[in-house]
Amino acid sequence: MIEEPLVRWDWIARNWDSGSPSAISTLLENHVVTAFLPVLLGLVVALPLGLACARWRWLYQPTAALMNVTYSLPSLVLFSIFLSVTGLTRATVVIPLTFFALAVLIPAVVDGLASVPDPVRQSAVAMGFRPARRLLRVELPVAVPVVLAGLRIATVSSISLVSVGALIGQGGLGNLFIDGWQRQFYTPIVVGIALIVLLAVLADGLLVLAQRLLTPWSRARSAA
């Protein structure tokens, strides 16, 4: 038990932008980069892989199984394994988190494409869309809600999982947890949790907004 207020605002004010590498704003910046990079990389890889899996169904089973296995591995385990390859760098956190993002995004892309109603696809064919254009102009837009649902899960988990990287010194805001633990000091821990949850809520909100902008027809339909 520590006789301490849960939050000491003066500590936050002093450490927000102190210029040192452990300043809260610097950690926040690090956290954002380390969390979004895997999602971005994951999306770039998952789109072609998901398309391939949707096109050649026999690919999907083994891919899904592999992703399932990856997803069941604790983040700390993957960080530890990559530590021996990439050392104490940001890549040690980014690469495993990319795998986690892939595990969510590949099924999302495949399910998204499967969610395109057959009549829609056939109409596109009948209207003279070639496969590539049909994919870009018809199938992917219709798949957006399912893909974005996956993207939301991947983003929020990534933001929260980065903090475990603090155990190998690459945790962004997670470093505040270690700091708070070592000094038996609540404030950094509370600040870290609050900022991470805030970041997750913000990112999630932006993705919901993106979905509304990308699928204007879904609103038109529910309004009618």
Partner: protein, 220 residues
């Protein structure tokens, strides 16, 4: 690979209170305790919410919040608040993180049951509770089991991180190895936890085969 040989080849790692068998048992003990408590809370609650449709918003909010909550932060905060040295405070965040996946999937599973099926069950004269236990639950079982599986894996992972706040278990090899730059211990611990997580995953898939009714499995 040398690291693996170093770690698993060392006889000292196979006995005593900080040997692999003891650590594995600890890990299983904490995980099982947290998982059981979480399941006892979340399965009935999820069934209640799924059956009555009341409190659905709560489930959705809880699920999203839980995904955003950083495990390590929650662990550190709860343990500092409750005082270091006992096991109980460590179990609290484990349970908190284990409840949402079970709750959500149980709820979604029951909600997702074909309305015609539900009506047919009522039409055959089953009462509310009978419909829940004899019709809805067996049909929703695959999703309920999925929730339990995700939750169990989450608990096993988080119990690893809990070594940082002084809990025993397999995480000790990783955390202590990191602290002393003994990478053979880090890798060895990582391999053990990975094997445990995969065993849990496999165990649940097996359970799925055994308890899910063949009729339900066919229509999936």
């Amino acid at each position: 690979m040398n690291w693996l040989a170093d770690f698993f080849g060392d006889a000292a790692h196979w006995s005593g209170p900080d040997g692999i068998p003891a650590r594995l048992l600890e890990h299983l003990g904490y995980s099982a305790a947290a998982f059981l408590v979480a399941a006892l809370i979340a399965v009935p609650l999820g069934m209640l919410i799924g059956h009555t449709g009341r409190g659905a918003l709560l489930v959705v909010v809880a699920a999203n919040a839980a995904r955003a909550l950083p495990t390590l932060g929650l662990l550190v905060l709860v343990v500092l608040l409750a005082g270091v040295g006992t096991v109980l405070p460590v179990l609290v965040p484990l349970i908190v993180l284990a409840v949402p996946p079970i709750l959500v999937n149980t709820y979604e599973g029951l909600r997702g049951v074909d309305a015609d099926l539900r009506d047919a069950a009522y039409g055959m004269g089953l009462r509310g509770r009978q419909v829940l236990f004899r019709t809805l639950t067996p049909v929703a079982l695959p999703l309920i089991l999925l929730g339990l599986r995700l939750s169990a894996i989450q608990v096993v992972s988080t119990a690893t991180v809990a070594a940082f706040v002084g809990l025993g278990g397999l995480g000790r090899f990783i955390i202590d190895g990191l602290a002393t730059k003994a990478y053979s211990s880090v890798i060895g611990g990582a391999v053990l936890v990975a094997a445990l997580a995969l065993a849990v995953q496999f165990g649940f898939l097996l359970l799925d085969r055994v308890v899910v009714s063949p009729g339900v499995r066919q229509t999936r």
